[in-house]
């Protein structure tokens, strides 16, 4: 069970949240070719290790935010709002 530190509500159980997938995906301009659009729509980094991803506190405050989670250990190393950049990695 993950304990997720919502930027608005504080630490809550993972069952209050929904994971919305990879963060920081930038939507390309509408006139790009099909390959670039497919890359935006479907291609994912899907790393084994640290992953910046969006989570929604759907059974809480309803806000969305980003966190950095290790996809093997599930350790959460950073939680940050959408208006903040991805924090620098520290080991």
């Amino acid at each position: 069970m993950l304990l997720i530190d919502c930027p608005w509500c504080g630490p809550r159980d993972e069952i209050e949240f929904v994971c919305g997938g990879e963060s920081h995906i930038v939507r390309p301009a509408p006139e790009v070719d099909d390959a670039a659009w497919a890359d935006y729509m479907f291609m994912r980094t899907n790393p084994k290790g640290r992953h910046a991803e969006r989570w929604g506190h759907v059974h809480g405050c309803g806000q969305w935010f980003s966190l950095v989670r290790d996809t093997v250990t599930h350790e959460i190393s950073a939680v940050y709002r959408f208006d903040q950049p991805r924090p620098a990695e520290r080991d």
Binding site: E14, F42, M43
Partner: protein
């Protein structure tokens, strides 16, 4: 290869089973092969077998970071079926099931196929209507399917709660009689033994650290046991496809999720069909040993941890108890997870990679086991002839660009 038969069983029995020959060799890797397959799971081993058996390409190595069949091939709930909605999937998965029906003979290895039938339950009027359309589509596609009523379901699965007071009342179901279960390890072992007998080298405990690239072409793999050159390289690594693709410098439309399965303690025979309930999210069968083998949906966030998270366990067990209230008295014996390669339309990718010399078999998501014979057969065809097999020609990477998805996600019921 010494053939397995009633006589060999008798002879070895008289020798107290001390003289069975080993089923496959454990060779040291050669410096070069015509084809190197990464991943000794069902799909990788089947690809190697069909390369040798169908295309005469036996100078093949299958390398794996662990032991053969130790990934998703040994972690699924052993269900085989071909109850898909779209013509492309129906043709592909029914071909797989037809190969399964002959596989024990083809490979001289008992895969313990038991075509006991699979019932997908309908719990609401809307599910009943969707199911009628689905059964019709299957029949049009030439796949066996029947819509059955609650009485017949009660007769086939007497311990299933079909009462009107059930949390999810059973209003009917779709039955595929040819569906069932097969011994998952035996499928890997059967392909391994048959491929080995045709000269394929299976190299276990040999992790691939990188791909060797020359002039823009993949020409081999860097492994824990040194470099191995290859005319062609096949990746059949399921949940780790993105990791390998990153080493080759491209991305895939794949997200890796843990899919859990579990078994109860063994009990007397209580269920001789496979049941799947979209409402509870649970699928369950009883193994020959008597354990209830069951699973549910994917864990809720991307994961490479082969263990699974507890909230999903709770959901799955609660769902099982809704279906079989008596199961609440059973002890829970084992639980495990495999890392599945989920794509947006829940259909596989059998295609050339963006890098020449590299071929992809992935995207099986939660349904790779049932597809093993067809996945291996069509991947071998693609690699040997450099053109897609007609049965797999729709399962390209390009479909994510053209939009020609084969969207089984909504069709198959459970997160697949």
């Amino acid at each position: 290869m010494s053939r397995y038969s009633f006589l060999s069983l008798l002879r070895n029995g008289l020798n107290h089973h001390r003289r069975w020959p080993q089923a496959w060799r454990s060779p040291a890797p050669k410096p070069a092969y015509d084809v190197v397959v990464i991943g000794a799971g069902g799909h990788g081993l089947a690809t190697a077998y069909y390369l040798a058996a169908e295309h005469g390409i036996a100078n093949v190595a299958v390398v794996d970071k662990g032991w053969l069949g130790g990934g998703n091939t040994g972690r699924n709930t052993t269900i085989v079926r071909s109850n898909y909605l779209y013509p492309e999937s129906a043709a592909f998965y029914d071909f797989a099931l037809r190969l399964y029906e002959r596989l024990s003979d083809t490979l001289n290895y008992n895969i313990m196929l038991s075509q006991r039938g699979l019932i997908t339950l309908a719990h609401s009027r809307h599910e009943l209507e969707a199911m009628a359309a689905w059964v019709n589509a299957m029949q049009v596609n030439g796949v066996d399917a029947e819509a059955i009523g609650t009485d017949e379901i009660r007769r086939m699965a007497p311990l299933l709660d079909c009462s009107t007071s059930a949390r999810f009342p059973v209003l009917g179901g779709a039955l595929q009689r040819r569906a069932g279960i097969a011994r998952h390890d035996a499928v890997a072992w059967a392909y391994a033994r048959a491929a080995d007998a045709r000269g394929v080298d299976i190299i276990q405990n040999c992790e691939v650290h990188g791909l060797i690239e020359e002039a823009g072409r993949i020409v081999g793999v860097e492994t824990a046991r040194g470099p191995i050159r290859a005319g062609k390289v096949v990746m059949a690594v399921a949940g780790h496809s993105s990791v390998l693709a990153a080493k080759a410098g491209f991305r895939l439309p794949v997200t890796s999720y843990a899919l859990q399965a579990m078994v109860s303690e063994p009990v007397k025979p209580m269920l001789d069909v496979v049941l799947l309930s979209p409402a509870t999210g649970v699928y369950v069968s009883q193994s020959d040993k008597g354990e209830l083998v069951f699973g549910g949906g994917l864990d809720l966030y991307p994961s490479y941890g082969q263990r699974g998270n507890f909230p999903t366990v709770e959901t799955v067990i609660a769902g099982l108890i809704e279906m079989f209230p008596g199961a609440s008295r059973l002890r829970w014996m084992r639980q495990w997870a495999g890392i599945t390669d989920v794509v947006h339309d829940s259909s596989p990718i059998i295609d050339r990679a963006p890098k020449p010399g590299l071929y992809i078999n992935c995207g099986w998501g939660t349904g790779g086991f049932k597809a093993i014979p067809a996945g291996g057969f069509t991947t071998a065809h693609l690699v040997a002839r450099d053109e897609p097999h007609p049965l797999a020609s729709a399962f390209t990477l390009k479909r994510f660009e053209t939009g020609a998805m084969i969207d089984e996600a909504a069709a198959a019921g459970i997160s697949h």
